[in-house]
């Protein structure tokens, strides 16, 4: 039984192919890439881009502990609907993923319920308390893809240094949520004119910048690799750019809402504009776009953070941080980065496939004969309107409801199986 994708425009980010070509899938592998192929079953991808399934280094699937927000099953369906075939799940669950047994639990739930590939990240410290290093050697051995205390940065410089050293020794990359909480009291949005006007407590950009700076300095001291999560500020990006120019092993990601929205979105007190780090100001949005265009930003991640309707249907300051992102990310890349000519379609694919995969060394994110048949087919021109009730995610907390976007996922294939449409 073989499946052949014909008539599409193939973009292979590693091979550098961007041409009309067919893809033949046999079993869970890509058998051939070339012209004039055929198979038992044929998908006509005329007018569409055929590329590797998307890879997201930053999602919250909430299982175990918060299954009313999302599960590995629903999160993976949201991923498939958004074109993703690999996601790295964050370990801030209850209980947190801080030991080998918990990694095995996630992988078992993934086998039982997920339609795409789940790459669990483990905690860097026990109970995410920022005090004692987790057993990273064993975590790596059972399948942890990375380590992070995402959501909480490790406050102690001593502990952070040792985490970076030990993780690097184990071949694990630390995913750094950079937030110096000592500078915030009860911050709910970006600090600036809009927080002043709205009377909401602010989160200054220095909160992010200071911690990016510290973490990069510690990574240099530890001679370790580090990945900076969700960069939002021009200042934070400048620090990363400088570190890269100095040859440090630093990578970073940003999320679609940071190049599409500013803190003006908070004006209506909509809790779907509340996330951490917060939406910034126009000069930051410009800097993030620039960073994506010039390569300072290595990849796009979603920070997919589902919450229930009720949890978000409250006063702004009481609402939890976070927005969903898996089902809108690709279209926001196409609509806001590719169409205005900021980046090429090829670069867009790279930012969402091979680039994130390479950061953690995941064996996905490219189209290669003999490689896994994780394939996305999308129409880069097709228009659609974001209707949260159509999401496969349990979370409907998107700031993009009602927006018309271009770039529509047609078919998502994971290990040779069509996982979307279902």
């Amino acid at each position: 039984m073989s499946l052949c994708i014909v008539n599409g425009h193939l973009i292979g980010p590693v091979s550098g192919i961007s041409a009309s070509m067919d893809v033949l899938i046999e079993g869970d592998k890509i058998a051939r890439i070339g012209a004039g192929l055929s198979g038992d079953e044929v998908i006509d991808a005329a007018g569409c881009v055929v590329c590797p399934g998307l890879v997201d280094l930053h999602v919250h699937f909430r299982e175990p502990g918060f299954e009313s927000k999302e599960t590995i099953a629903t999160g993976s369906r949201a991923a498939a609907r958004g074109g993703f075939t690999s996601v790295v799940t964050m370990p801030n669950t209850a209980p947190p993923i801080d030991n080998a047994g918990m990694i095995e639990f996630i992988l078992r739930r993934a086998r039982e319920t997920a339609c795409i590939k789940i790459w669990p990240a483990a905690c860097a410290t026990k109970q995410r308390a920022g005090e004692e290093i987790t057993e990273m050697g064993e975590l790596k051995a059972v399948g942890a893809a990375a380590v992070t205390d995402d959501g909480d940065d490790i406050a102690s410089g001593w502990v952070m240094r040792r985490v970076l050293e030990y993780a690097d020794m184990c071949g694990l990359t630390y995913l750094a949520h950079c937030e110096d909480k000592s500078l915030i009291e009860d911050g709910a949005m970006n600090e600036g004119y809009n927080s002043t006007r709205l009377g909401l407590p602010g989160i200054p950009k220095a909160v992010e910048e200071m911690r990016i700076d510290r973490n990069i300095r510690l990574a240099r001291l530890a001679n370790a690799k580090i990945h900076i999560q969700h960069v939002t500020s021009a200042g934070g990006l400048a620090i990363i750019r400088e570190a890269k120019e100095a040859g440090l092993r630093v990578t970073c990601e940003t999320c679609p809402h940071y190049w599409t929205l500013t803190d003006e979105a908070v004006t209506t007190f909509s809790t779907n504009a509340k996330m951490n780090p917060p939406l910034r100001e126009p000069e930051d949005v410009a800097a993030i776009k620039q960073g994506l265009a010039d390569g300072t930003i290595d990849c796009v991640a979603t920070d997919h953070a589902p919450h229930t309707f009720t949890e978000k249907d409250v006063e702004f300051q009481l609402a939890p941080f976070g927005v969903v992102g898996l089902e809108t990310a690709l279209a926001l890349v196409i609509t806001e980065l590719v169409e205005p000519g900021l980046i090429s379609l090829e670069r867009a694919v790279e930012l969402m496939t091979s680039a994130p995969a390479n950061i953690l060394g995941l064996p996905v994110g490219q189209l290669a004969e003999g490689g896994p048949a994780d394939v996305l087919i999308f129409d880069p021109k097709a228009e659609w309107t974001v209707e949260p009730h159509e999401f496969a995610s349990q979370g409907r907390n998107t700031p993009f409801a009602g927006r018309t976007l271009r770039g529509l996922v047609k078919t998502t294939i994971c290990d040779g199986q069509v996982v979307y449409p279902w």
Partner: protein, 329 residues
């Protein structure tokens, strides 16, 4: 009377002064004098039937004596049924959301819901979802529009009386607001309201209590009290929350007094005619010296008296939408 009529009132709610036009603000101010007269009736019958049969619910999630009393009185003097609910945030702990609370009140056919809440935006999110007229009686640090309206009314009344110009407005007036600007919804609403009415505003307080980029609201900003009040027609002192000291926002009450207290000594820098105002309750001798609060330039109790009339005007305007100027006697 013969001013060119503004547009009629069309809003369901009063959430903040940032949203209002000068004409809308003036409509409320022009509606209030008749209610000042009602409250001062020699007959002692301080009541009109404009909201007879209506239900006004005061929903207070924060402790308040004066504002709540003022709203209760305003409703009663308009002949509405009014009730006050002191909801603690413990209802949140019990699992009832703010929208749930409003749904329950509306199930009893409320016409106006007055809300005081500790979080910014509470009035706005209610106004957008619910059908009652929502009046914001203070939401976190965001806005306190009825306070700013009664302040503007009091300033205008003083200008008209002292200048003997019954049509005078606030154009050209200089207002200095002194204190903890960061945490003050009164400062924000006054900044919006006064600048829209043509006054100029200077905000003054310790650097630690001035929020970032507040000059974007069209006001001047300084941390020098003498500079703030040297040309002020109105010196408006804000209540300082004593507990801010423990959060490193100022070093001591003693030092605050030294640098920012409005008293006979610091007022030497102000013009002799400058009016003294305060939203209450006063920390006597901390942000405002007793001799100034009680002195001849103080209109602090007049603010309280006018507060009832202005809140009557707001309720009347929201529910009955009177034509501009028609009701002014």
């Amino acid at each position: 009377m013969t001013e060119t009529a503004g547009t009629a009132w069309t809003r369901k709610d009063l959430v903040g002064l940032e949203d209002l036009t000068r004409e809308e603000i003036e409509l409320i101010l022009d509606t209030a004098p008749q209610f000042v007269a009602v409250s001062a009736r020699e007959s002692g019958i301080k009541k009109v039937p404009l909201l007879q049969g209506r239900l006004v619910v005061n929903l207070f999630f924060e402790p308040s004596t004066r504002t709540r009393l003022s709203f209760e009185l305003a409703a009663k003097r308009l002949s509405a049924d009014s009730m006050s609910v002191s909801a603690s945030t413990s209802s949140v702990v019990k699992g009832e959301t703010l929208h749930d609370t409003l749904d329950n009140i509306e199930a009893m056919h409320s016409d106006i819901v007055v809300i005081r809440h500790g979080y910014a935006g509470a009035a706005r999110i209610l106004a957008e979802r619910h059908s009652s007229h929502i009046i914001n009686a203070g939401d976190g640090r965001h806005e306190h529009p009825t306070q700013a309206l009664l302040d503007a009314f009091t300033m205008r009344e003083w200008v008209r009386n002292t200048r003997q110009e019954p049509e005078a407005g606030l154009d050209g007036l200089r207002v200095a607001i002194i204190g903890d600007i960061t945490h003050s919804r009164v400062a924000r609403s006054n900044a919006w309201g006064l600048t829209k009415l043509g006054a100029s505003v200077v905000l003054c307080g310790p650097r630690t209590l001035l929020p970032p980029n507040i000059d974007g609201m069209g006001v001047d900003v300084t941390s020098n009290l003498a500079e703030a009040i040297h040309d002020a027609d109105v010196v408006y002192a804000l209540r300082i929350q004593l507990e801010r000291q423990s959060r490193c926002l100022f070093p001591s009450i003693r030092e605050y007094i030294r640098l920012f207290r409005v008293d006979a000594d610091s007022l030497k820098a102000a013009p002799p005619h400058a009016l003294i105002m305060h939203p209450g309750p006063i920390n006597r001798d901390i942000e405002l010296a007793a001799e100034v609060a009680d002195g001849p330039r103080s209109v602090i109790l007049r603010q309280v008296t006018n507060g009832v009339a202005v809140r009557m005007a707001i309720m009347h305007v929201l529910v009955n939408r009177p034509k501009p100027n028609r009701d002014e006697s």
